[in-house]
């Protein structure tokens, strides 16, 4: 029963359920807007424009009813990478204003500046991509990707197949987790425990869990394929999905606003620096 309790806590993807105007946008609009926004952020080279980016992003987070702390919490997983990037930028940027020197290490004002911009950029990209992933269920995401990829199907891009794989993966993750739990308990009851002992012993323990899990997963895949065939599945052709994506005027409006903002961000490169 422990597993049943655990299972309910597991949430796939990062979806944060809430009623908000951002949640109810067409997922396709959100994907396109996010790609535009992330591209725009790459062009920003000044603190003033970063202030604009953060203001825009925070406003959007507020509209989406996502606590800013939750969005910025996603940065925690990348702390090591961020520090590393910041240090490299700080110490390996050549410049005139040398603040500190020790052997080959030189800290310049230009280095600090670049490092700060880089940090602002990475943090903004990570935190604000939550605007898409927190407000869109994995299923809606896969529907949107299928819909956006459809024009490419003509060139052999398997848009429908990817979406179907995603749907099935989401459906079976909990099933496989439960099964893994069962197998581990079975192994433990016979004295096998991958959490103890030498490295070789632990490796052997993991193999003893992974092999039956994989074996069963293949059996399930086989069963599922037959069951899908029995229910008339012949691929994406002629198929109508119960879930319908609806593009509303508000989606166009949101996209236009983002487009204008991103155009400004891109243009900012060639505008005289504000600060």
């Amino acid at each position: 029963m422990l597993m049943a309790a655990k299972k309910r806590q597991i949430r796939f993807g990062a979806y944060y359920p809430a009623e908000s105007p951002v949640h109810s946008l067409d997922p396709r609009a959100k994907i396109i807007a996010m790609l535009l926004f992330l591209t725009g952020i790459l062009f920003v080279e000044s603190y003033a424009w970063f202030a604009a980016v953060y203001a825009f992003g925070l406003l959007a987070l507020r509209l989406a009813r996502i606590p800013a702390g939750k969005a910025f919490g996603a940065v925690r997983g990348l702390v090591v990478l961020l520090i590393f990037t910041a240090l490299i930028n700080a110490f390996f940027t050549r410049g005139e204003m040398v603040l500190w020197q020790y052997g080959a290490l030189t800290l310049t004002l230009e280095g600090l500046h670049r490092s700060a911009l880089m940090l602002l950029r990475l943090v903004a990209m990570v935190a604000f991509s939550g605007l898409l992933t927190f407000t869109t269920t994995p299923i809606a995401l896969s529907d949107a990707l299928e819909s956006l990829g459809r024009p490419l199907a003509r060139f052999g891009f398997p848009a429908h197949e990817f979406a179907m794989m995603m749907t099935i993966a989401l459906r079976f993750i909990p099933v496989l987790l439960e099964e893994a739990d069962k197998i581990m308990k079975a192994q433990r009851s016979r004295g096998g425990d991958w959490r103890e002992g030498s490295l070789t012993r632990r490796m052997k323990g993991i193999i003893a869990v992974v092999v039956p899990l994989l074996f069963n997963a293949l059996k399930r895949a086989d069963d599922l394929a037959i069951a899908m065939e029995a229910r008339g599945y012949i691929g994406g052709k002629g198929r109508i999905s119960l879930r319908e994506l609806r593009w509303r005027p508000v989606d166009t409006a949101v996209l236009l606003v983002v487009l204008v903002f991103v155009a400004l961000l891109v243009a900012s490169r060639w505008l005289p620096p504000l600060w």
Binding site: I168, R171, V175, D223, L224, R231, G232, Y233, R239, L242
Partner: protein, 265 residues
């Protein structure tokens, strides 16, 4: 509804899973197929909606050779199938999405899909669970969902391939109750089972052994032939065994045994 004429199926050259099977299951009939593991039950069932194609012989569904169906979807629509493991046949991430899977494949319009979802969930007693995650359903509920998924294609016949084998007694009873209602509504049911109590529900019992059809007759008649059944590793339900010992052969239920004992007294 179903007619098999000398059907043989070899899954590799020379190895026959089905050997010269001829059988007629009339429309609206509830048939139970029994036999030990490897007797050819499931193989036979999979011929009924074209999941397997006979090596030789003919399979007729609704009077037409399965090979004559213009497309395989027509046949799948006519004959629904529910498998043993409920977890391995649910595709959707919610109850309604799973029910919709078949109609989606057939290109049914969305309004009609919605209507069918409501209808079939009512038939299997899952109304109100439309948005539920299938992973949070009980075994019996999952299997009823699988039945709903098959019903949403509006089939004329339903095949159940050991659909109650993995369920606890409560879950199995729930599924049987649904089948009784469907049968009362005129659905043809072909149920592969190891449970003799379930066979007693059927009108026609089909006994398979070694890929061959051994007997096809009403359960009461088949249950009289205890010795033969033993030879095919089929055990009668306890109440039938008791009846047979007491000379009341072929009893299907306790009530029947008691009534016959009373009459005999």
């Amino acid at each position: 509804m179903f007619r098999l004429e000398n059907v043989t199926y070899e899954y590799q050259a020379g190895v026959k899973a089905l050997a010269d099977v001829s059988l007629h299951i009339p429309r609206g009939c509830w048939a139970a197929v029994i036999g030990a593991n490897g007797s050819g039950k499931s193989t036979m069932a999979r011929h009924l909606n074209g999941l397997l194609a006979a090596t030789s012989g003919r399979v007729l569904v609704d009077g037409r050779d399965v090979n004559e169906y213009a497309n395989v979807q027509q046949l799948r629509r006519k004959v629904g199938i529910v498998f043993q493991n409920p977890d391995n046949q649910i595709v959707g991430n919610s109850v309604e999405e799973d029910v919709a899977f078949g109609p989606e494949n057939l290109g049914v319009p969305r309004d009609e899909m919605r209507r069918r979802i409501t209808e079939v969930l009512g038939m299997v007693g899952l109304v109100g669970r439309e948005k539920a995650d299938p992973n949070n359903l009980s075994g019996g509920q999952k299997q009823r969902l699988a039945i709903a998924g098959a019903l949403a294609m509006q089939p004329e016949a339903l095949i159940l391939d050991e659909a109650t084998a993995m369920l606890d007694p409560v879950g199995a009873a729930e599924v049987l109750e649904v089948l009784r209602r469907l049968h009362a509504g005129g659905m043809t049911i072909v149920m592969i089972t190891h449970s003799m109590a379930e066979v007693a529900e059927a009108e026609l019992a089909v006994v398979m052994a070694n890929g061959r059809l051994q007997m096809a007759a009403p359960p009461a008649e088949i249950f009289r032939r205890e010795q033969e059944l033993r030879g095919w590793h089929i055990e009668l339900p306890p109440v039938t065994q008791l009846g047979n010992m007491l000379g009341m052969k072929g009893c299907l239920s306790l009530d029947e045994l008691l009534t016959r004992l009373d009459v005999g007294r």
